[in-house]
Amino acid sequence: MAKAKLMDYDKALELFEPVLGFEVHVELSTKTKMFSAAPNNFGSEPNTNITPTCLGLPGSLPVVNEEAVRYSISLGLALDCEIAESSSFARKNYFYPDLAKNYQISQFDEPIAINGNVEVELPNGRVFQIDIERAHMEEDAGKLTHVGGSTGRIQGAEYSLVDYNRAGVPLVEIVTRMIEGAEHDAPELAKAYVATIRDIVLALGISDAKMERGNLRCDANVSLRPRGSDKLGTRTETKNVNSLRSVERAVRYEIQRQAQILADGGTIIQETRHWHEDTGATSAGRPKSDADDYRYFPEPDLLPVVPDPALIEDLRAALPEKPAERRRRLKADWGFTDLEFQDVVNSGLLNEITETVAAGATPQAARKWWTGEIARLANAAEGDAGIDITPAQVAELQQLVNEGTLTDRLARQVLEAVAAGEGSPRKIVETKGLAVVSDDGALIAAIDEALSAQPDVLEKIKDGKVQAAGAVIGAVMKAMQGKADAARVRELVLERAAAL
């Protein structure tokens, strides 16, 4: 796919103000689907998690999942929304083979949550308030697999397979109001916003929030307003953005693409665009106009959702700390510098460090392990298999260092073994014999041997050229296979040299 002509980003920002808007779909991790008792599981054999309702069989009817309603209320509350006393479902009618009934049941003019706000912090420390217009419940569609074409898309495919396992999975769609004033930070804001939503739903425990699995999906609306104009530009809606990094890249790309078109005297077409991770570009999808006619009307098979006010208050009381508040608290508690803390936040390591500190490590030690050696091991790990190191293991490792059993170097070796699944740090120290040799007798024997092997060095030390001791220390460390405390070796070398 040919990349469009792109304007330099800074130049684009000189000429235009980016205006953003986001629609984030969150798949809820309820036990069963939005309107049927079919299991809500990812990765099952195709068309096994289905009921007559998921398939839209004649005579079947939807029934609202109360767990999904509770999750949606919690999410609405976490976004500082008002929860509607009564909300209702509508039918969004359009024909598509992944939509079993050829209509989607979705909340339309009476959503469950409205008028919210979420605080988003950018990597540069800037804090942004994003207004939430609404959060509404709906059902997911099935999944189409296009077979026979070269691109995996419907164009050129010989046939398509439909898997209705996902049909009816509960979704909450969170819609922001128009976001102005992000300016240069627009791409970072996009990423930070989606990351914040992810953190909120994870903290609530209502979604697996894995973007690569489609648990969390972001449609990014971008338009440009010429500097000095108060007229909004035509927007595009970029879909298929399934990682935080892609959200940032896609918004940056659209700003640059639209700026170039406008600068060249062209017009922006109101359309959906698809993000392509491989090429780092968006391509035109289907034209979209405000007059898209889905023939919405109230879903006659369902009653309005009227939650008990007591339930809402219970859910409000059970809300976890907001991510922004939590970050402020942790930064103060841990005493990190701005830079250190941003590094932790951007690496998504708040939970790991919290738990490692809870397991007994100091915040700084926890930070160093997670942002340093563990991050390096994770990067080196093949594919997305990841590495399996728990905060408790990290705390134990640090404990071994603190008590002198391990040097930093040895500790890194132990960590590698932990990552390889060989057991707890203490067990690995025992089975591999990796502990520091603290027996002076063994060290002295090695030192005497090294000194006698290098009589010239011994003379130099005796002459007061203490820095010459390095060569002996190196030899001793080598003989001890690294399992010695270098500082102690140095002390002993100087003692022995003086004595000989």
Partner: protein
């Protein structure tokens, strides 16, 4: 022909309890009757004698073991094809579902099976219940047992004709705008549309979800009450089904007494536009009720003037969406355009071939009514009329216990007579539609024969939502009074069906 077919369900239940007959005998008698006369009537789309007799045998075994499932255990029943069944095809009268086997039973079907009733087969209907004559069935019209050249009403003409022709003592129907009550009126039988939500809709192939209601089709009020008692109640699969505890409707029918009952006659449904013989029988019935202690007053429901127009916007709107699922992807007919085609082309070819003219007419109408720019004028206005109708009924029921009207303006018309004028046929639903608009229950009870054509006429009673029991009270009372007056049942006056007339 065995006399067993002329017994009511209540009588059959008594005989089974007394051990003077068996379910196999009863079932066989009805299967024989179907074999003899259904070639002329076409009331049934599907009959499987072997399956029915198996169910009858199982019922007899339960009786022998002293463990019947309900008083009706062993009594046969016919099932309108709008209800899905696992052991018989379910087509809703449409080609698009020809031969389709449902993997699940409708809740009402499960309930009648759990009560031990013996399904005889699936009955004919207008395609997707769209029609008032059963002429819109994709499988040919059902004929009226009173006159084979005439329509049996619709959409449930199959269930009504089956019961009127003694092919089944009981049947299930569905009533969206009169599809149970109007055929009852046309065939001299009893039909009840319960309160909306009184009976589960799960497994009823939806026409218009906010109007559809499943109900009994029988020859006597008591039989309707007995069947209603079997099928009523909340269903976890249907969010719109009510959680109410319902009284025994059989008790209400048994203890019928209209002394002091206040009956309102709906002015808008009495007079102009109604056939003289229909009105004559209507007023005769009211006089009889009055003579037995009921108080008769006139009430006005001014919004009924717009009810038919509003109904024929809301119904097609919901139907256009409900019928979208018939696209060939997951079930039913699939028509491949020549040389293959895209999924849109296959869907389009399938729907073109699979739906009949009346269905297409209503899909187009409904799609239009819901379209952006027209929604407020059509669907929106229609919903406002619906609210007005509901208010009119609430007002009326603050003054009277039940309302009364003729069930329909005319007696049975000739096959084909109204096919060229769909709007005329829609207007015929004027008396039955309001109950569906308001979600209230209604019953049609035979009131006699029209003088001018000798065809059956029904009287309709309506009650406030949740007060279905009042219908069994007034219906059973009137039925008794009329039969005392006539000295016979109305259906005993129907011509003898010989079979092979056509």
């Amino acid at each position: 022909m065995s006399d067993l077919i002329h017994k009511t369900a209540a009588q059959l239940a008594e005989m089974l309890a007394a051990g003077t007959t068996t379910s196999v005998e009863i079932t066989q008698a009805h299967l024989d009757r179907i074999a003899a006369v259904d070639g002329d009537l076409n009331a049934f789309l599907h009959v499987n004698a072997a399956v029915s007799l198996e169910a009858a045998k199982a019922s007899d075994a339960r009786r022998a073991a002293g463990a019947p499932l309900s008083p009706l255990d062993g009594v046969p029943i016919a099932i309108k094809d709008v209800l899905v069944t696992t052991d018989m095809p379910s087509t809703s009268g449409s080609k698009i579902l020809e031969g389709w086997m449902s993997p699940y039973d409708a809740t009402v079907v499960t309930k009648v099976r759990e009560a031990g009733l013996v399904p005889l087969g699936k009955t004919n209907m207008d395609e997707f219940a769209m029609g008032s004559s059963t002429e819109h069935s994709a499988y040919g019209p059902t004929r009226n047992p009173w006159d084979l050249d005439r329509i049996p009403g619709g959409s449930g003409g199959g269930s009504a004709a089956a019961v009127a022709a003694f092919e089944a003592p009981l049947a299930l129907g569905s009533d969206t705008g009169g599809s149970i009550r109007q055929p009852a009126h046309i065939t001299g039988t009893v039909g009840v549309k319960p309160t909306y939500g009184g009976v589960s809709r799960y497994g009823a192939i939806a026409l218009a979800s906010s109007f559809d209601q499943i109900g009994p089709v029988t020859r006597t009020v008591m039989d309707s009450a007995l069947l209603h008692d079997v099928i009523k109640g909340h269903d976890v699969h249907d969010s719109t089904s009510l959680k109410d505890e319902w009284p025994s409707f059989a008790e209400a029918a048994k203890n019928a007494n209209v002394k002091g009952l206040k009956i309102g006659v709906i002015e808008q449904l009495d007079g102009e536009g109604f056939q003289p013989g229909v009105l004559a029988r209507f007023h005769e019935s009211l006089e009889l009720l009055k003579a037995n202690g009921a108080e008769i007053v006139n009430v006005s429901l001014p919004s009924l003037e717009h009810a038919v127009a509003a109904y024929y916007l809301i119904l097609p709107a919901e139907a256009s969406s409900n019928l979208a699922k018939f696209d060939s992807v997951r079930f039913g007919l699939r028509v491949q355009p020549e040389g293959g085609g895209t999924v849109e082309q296959v869907m389009s070819a399938t729907r073109e071939a699979g739906f009949g003219a009346e269905v297409k007419r209503r899909i187009i109408l409904g799609t239009y009514a819901l379209s952006a720019g027209y929604y407020d004028a059509y669907y929106g206005s229609a919903q406002k009329v619906r609210t007005l109708v509901q208010r009119d009924f609430a007002d009326a029921f603050s003054k009277v216990d039940v309302l009364a009207s003729p069930t329909a303006p005319t007696t049975a018309w000739k096959l084909g007579e109204q096919l060229d004028d769909p709007v005329a046929m829609w207007r015929g639903d004027i008396a039955t539609i309001p109950a569906n608009m308001a979600g209230i229950p209604g019953i049609s009870v035979p009131a006699g024969l029209a003088d001018e054509d000798g065809l059956p006429v029904g009287i309709q009673f309506l009650a406030p939502a949740r007060e279905d029991a009042r219908l069994y009270n007034v219906g059973a009372a009137l039925e008794t009074l009329l039969e005392q007056k006539w000295g016979h049942t109305l259906l005993s006056q129907a011509p003898e069906l010989k079979g092979g007339a056509l």
